[in-house]
């Protein structure tokens, strides 16, 4: 004889079952029907709106006689690009101008990323320093740059700092020799001599060989457990290839190209325009503040017990850093770091405001000149989208790799 309570439940369910057999669910409460209904409604709404937009667009394009092809890229562009990175003069094609802009974007992003990473890491280490003063200075640097819009920072560097740089007649001279005046910053820069080619070729081969040998030997060590001296061997390969290249090229693969005064101007050396220098400084310092926070977070996230345990097993200070702290910190640091790199690349479009002609600025002039807003915008968007898709592709591969390691 079951407990009365259970009997009561049985009665309940029996009653319910009988009721539910009598009345079926009304169609407006049926999950499946609602689902299909929602699918149709949403599809009609979204596709309808898109079609409407396209119809409007075609009408507007017709009314304004707009061409929607990329044929204009082969036409002549009449505008100049100040300091083009590749060979470009007004009168070359729009396509060429666009390429020049693209190279400028990649150039400023590339050097910006390198500088921001170095500065950011240094600031993060300073922030973690046990020296109170240094840590505070780093904090001020971070808080200053994180809370000011990049555009304001850019204007401060370009209009204020570079605005008060003296004209050519009383150029600032710094050791190096480095000259600074209104026309830009002139740095001494090593340039390849005519006999330098074998050096570069040999050194590249050396780097390549060193990387391969490093990976192979380290893999062998991981499997066998015997020390294969992978680090000394690969470093000595590097050094040997460097010296061999140096000797082969007759001892002078490079020569320092120093700027010198030539009448009212400076010749030689590496000239950075004020636009490039202002953009570079503001962009890399701004991003460095964000990177510093990323790096600090990553290093602080490593469990103290891990470090203590590593010390207890007898690893040296360097081994603790390279085998315990860095692998764990990097796993946390790298994904946000890469998105900071992407931000930097996208933020380089602000250069338009000070007249440094990267891809967006060139696109804007093209719109004004050629009046082809839509294809130009498509081109600009494709450029940035492919950069960011590439980045997220790399990020996904990396994430998959570290997940594999974790398991």
């Amino acid at each position: 004889m079951p407990h009365p309570f259970y009997r009561w439940i049985d009665v309940m369910t029996d009653n319910q079952q009988q009721e539910s057999q009598k009345t079926s669910i009304p169609f407006y409460r049926d999950e499946r029907i609602i689902q299909i209904f929602a699918q149709v409604i949403s599809a009609v709404l979204i596709i309808g709106l898109l079609i409407l937009a396209v119809i409007n667009f075609i009408q507007a394009a017709d009314a304004r006689n707009m061409t929607l092809t990329f044929g204009f890229l082969k036409e002549k562009a009449g505008f100049p690009i100040s300091n083009p990175p590749i060979d470009y003069v007004p009168g070359m094609t729009f396509g060429r101008a666009f390429t020049a802009g693209l190279v400028n974007t990649l150039l400023i992003s590339g050097v910006g990323i390198i500088a921001a990473t170095i500065v950011g890491t240094l600031v993060a280490l300073a922030r973690l320093s046990s020296n109170w003063l240094l840590s505070r200075i780093a904090l001020v640097f971070i808080e200053f740059h994180r809370n000011i819009p990049l555009l304001v920072l850019l204007f401060i560097w370009y209009f204020v700092v570079f605005g008060f740089v003296p004209p050519v007649s009383d150029t600032l001279q710094w050791p190096g020799p480095t000259y600074v005046n209104k026309r830009g910053v002139y740095l001494s820069w090593p340039r390849l001599t005519e006999t330098g080619t074998p050096f570069v070729v040999l050194f590249l081969i050396g780097i390549f060989a060193a990387i391969i040998i490093f990976t192979v030997l380290r893999q062998r060590r991981k499997i066998s457990g015997k020390d294969t001296y992978y680090l000394p061997i690969s470093i000595s390969i590097l050094i040997i290839s460097f010296i061999a290249g140096w000797i082969l090229s007759g001892g002078t693969p490079f020569q320092i190209d120093s700027p010198f005064r030539d009448g009212f101007n400076f010749q030689g050396g590496l000239r950075l325009t004020p636009e490039f220098a202002g953009m570079f400084l503001s962009l890399s310092l701004y991003t460095a503040a964000f990177i510093a926070e990323v790096v600090r977070g990553g290093i602080q996230a490593v469990n103290r017990g891990q470090i203590e345990a590593a010390r207890a097993v007898g690893l040296s200070q360097i081994q603790v850093l390279s085998l315990v702290i860095m692998p764990q910190a990097l796993r946390i640091i790298i994904p946000p770091m890469i998105s900071q790199y992407l931000n930097l690349t996208k933020n380089s479009s602000l250069a338009l405001a000070i007249g440094f002609q990267e891809v967006f600025a060139v696109g804007k002039i093209t719109i004004n000149q050629a009046g082809r807003a839509v294809p130009v915008f498509a081109l600009i968007m494709i450029t940035y989208l492919s950069l960011s898709l590439l980045t997220s592709f790399i990020l996904n591969i990396y994430n998959r790799r570290i997940q594999f390691v974790m398991r």
């Binding site: 689902q35 929602a38 699918q39 949403s42 599809a43 979204i46 596709i47 937009a53 396209v54 409007n56 667009f57 009408q59 507007a60 394009a61 009314a63 320093s129 046990s130 020296n131 109170w132 003063l133 240094l134 200075i137 808080e143 200053f144 994180r146 809370n147 000011i148 819009p149 990049l150 555009l151 304001v152 920072l153 204007f155 401060i156 209009f159 204020v160 605005g163 008060f164 996208k346 933020n347 479009s349 602000l350 338009l352 405001a353 967006f360 804007k364 719109i367 807003a373 839509v374 915008f377 600009i380 968007m381 940035y384 989208l385 950069l387 960011s388 898709l389």
Partner: protein
């Protein structure tokens, strides 16, 4: 007896280190740190001295102090300035009410605002912009804050009303500022005359209020099991996150008109607001999606088991937990949006930065004072974003305590 003494010694809490001990521990532990301190200290001292010297004695702040109204509201007609005053008083009232109700950081903000108002109302300088009327209206806003405080403290106004008030302020502000055609009381003021800090705050507040629900909708859209909705949301989010804001701004100011019916004309400022909103929404959507993913499936199942419909489950179970998990990144996104509003300068809208630039370019004399102007603007932007980020930290702390209970 001896044991008791020892116990006392043992129990005594650690004393705070003395000043000299602190200096030794934090500045001079080890040779490296000592050398570093000795090198850094004079540098920092010299820099601070140079900055103070410049700010107080060498800088000429004329370009900043001469046009306070221009920095605040741009070219907005001076005879219509009372509209701005009304909106300002509304904000002050809400600030007071929120202070009375919630206290905490809002208390500090309200008190600081009150102090600033008082300082300006009683500033012992002759300035054309600071006439008796201006002083009186600034001073009366102090009373408005206090009135709000009393309302918040004494009455049991619903919290939802206060939040609704904050949400309505941007929209109501835009309507009052814009006015209507053929209206005697509120004549139309074209947005080309708007400017200054007013536009910056309007764009930021409007962008925040509008982009957040759009972002939540996009996040749900991306997770939806309706293929069209999910595909549309995904493409939308990824496309906007993949390009710089300036591209979106130009798209809305140049290309948007082509996709709309020929007779529709959208105001320049509204287009900028739309661009900022859409841009920020895509980023918010990704943040919210992260939060949605962090809600355990058991929560949804439990809600379903209790007989809640999918709408109720979403609004009362999933969303609160999701938003709480990602609140810091959402606030971070709002700060970024505030900073990003400066980009509207590039499409020719006179926001705070734009007004600064036009003042500099208006007079060769002011060109020489651009350092002061840019520093002033940097300081104002810095204060606003720093306030926002410290607010976010406070909220985080408060929520952290809550979750421990």
């Amino acid at each position: 007896m001896a044991i008791k003494e020892m116990e006392q010694d043992y129990i005594r809490p650690p004393q705070p280190p003395g000043f000299l001990k602190w200096i030794k521990d934090n500045l001079f532990d080890g040779v490296f740190n000592s050398v570093l301190t000795i090198l850094l200290f004079p540098t920092v001292f010299y820099l601070l001295y140079a900055i103070f010297d410049w700010v107080l004695f060498n800088a000429s702040w004329q370009a900043v102090t001469q046009f306070p109204l221009l920095y605040a509201i741009g070219q907005y007609p001076r005879e219509e300035i009372w509209r701005v005053g009304i909106i300002f008083s509304g904000i002050m009232l809400l600030l007071g009410i929120s202070w009375g109700r919630w206290g905490g950081l809002l208390k500090s903000i309200a008190l600081a605002t009150g102090a600033i108002l008082l300082v300006f109302a009683l500033l012992p300088v002759q300035h054309p912009a600071l006439d008796l009327n201006m002083r009186l209206s600034l001073g009366s806003n102090l009373l408005v804050i206090l009135l709000g405080f009393l309302i918040g403290k004494k009455t049991n106004l619903k919290n939802a009303f206060i939040i609704a008030g904050w949400l309505i302020i941007p929209a109501g502000g835009i309507i009052i500022l814009a006015g209507f055609e053929n209206s005697a009381l509120l004549p139309n003021v074209p947005t080309t005359l708007w400017g200054g800090l007013m536009v910056t705050i309007l764009l930021a507040a409007g962008g925040i209020v509008l982009s957040f629900p759009l972002g939540v909708a996009l996040a749900f859209g991306r997770r939806s099991n309706l293929p069209v909705v999910s595909a549309f949301s995904t493409v939308f989010i990824e496309m906007i996150r993949g390009v710089p804001l300036i591209t979106i701004l130009f798209m809305f100011s140049i290309i948007l008109a082509l996709f709309l019916p020929a007779e529709s004309r959208i105001d320049r400022l509204v287009r900028a607001l739309m661009a900022v909103t859409v841009f920020s929404a895509a980023y918010s959507a990704e943040n919210v999606r992260g939060g949605l993913q962090s809600v355990p499936l058991g929560q949804v199942e439990a809600a379903k088991a209790l007989g809640m419909g999918s709408f109720k489950t979403t609004v009362f179970i999933v969303l609160p937990q999701a938003l709480r998990a990602v609140l810091p990144s959402i606030v971070g996104q709002f700060i970024a949006l505030f900073k990003d509003t400066t980009l509207v300068v590039i499409i020719g809208i006179n926001d705070f930065l734009g007004i600064g630039r036009s003042i500099i370019n208006s007079d060769p004399e002011f060109v020489q004072m651009r350092t002061e102007v840019y520093i002033f603007m940097a300081v104002i932007y810095w204060i606003f974003s720093y306030l926002m980020s410290s607010a976010s930290r406070r909220i985080e702390d408060a929520m952290g305590i809550e979750s421990n209970l």
